[in-house]
Symmetry: C2
Subunit: 119 residues, 2 copies
Amino acid sequence: MKNEAHEQGVLVRPRIHIGDDIEIGPGKIDLLCHVADGQSISAAARSLGMTYKRAWLLIDTLNQGFGRPVVETTSGGKGGGGSRLTPLGEALVARYQALEAKLSQAAQPELDALCALAK
Amino acid sequence: MKNEAHEQGVLVRPRIHIGDDIEIGPGKIDLLCHVADGQSISAAARSLGMTYKRAWLLIDTLNQGFGRPVVETTSGGKGGGGSRLTPLGEALVARYQALEAKLSQAAQPELDALCALAK
């Protein structure tokens, strides 16, 4: 799952809290994108430099927060099983990326003012 | 330094990268706000549940990133010295909060769509 906003050099990546139980930020979204790409939690963890346990815990906090899974794991079969995003997981990534794109466009003047402090 | 956006129940707190050297997110901004309130890095660290060392390192990464300090420390004097935001530090907090308010307002439809996934 390509993140087109990134390719445009976007700098705002929001962290969103929904109620007390759900926290969604760039780390979890990147993890879900990597799971979607490689169909594997362990490969996703590896490419992000985190342990499998941490990746699994991050995903599980989402599963628990939403009360239903964002990643589903299939065991066995021809490919030896793997993991993939559920429709909820896919919607979550898509909604987050839409938000990210909207924010980055809307906030350009404020972003420019902030960046000007570094000059 | 009160964060009025928080009081309105805002849920988007951006993390901003300026070049390779500056990363500004809610943690550093909260820390700066606490330093401004208490005029002390150690009191700010304590109230945020972090060590003095971590608080100092977070502030120093900003100082280094901007190439000039966001917090200045005065030693001795009647109050035994303390720390306060520099004009740059104050501008940084103000610009971040303006961005946060703008984002939260601009992104309401996308936020609503994201929150609807949790229902």
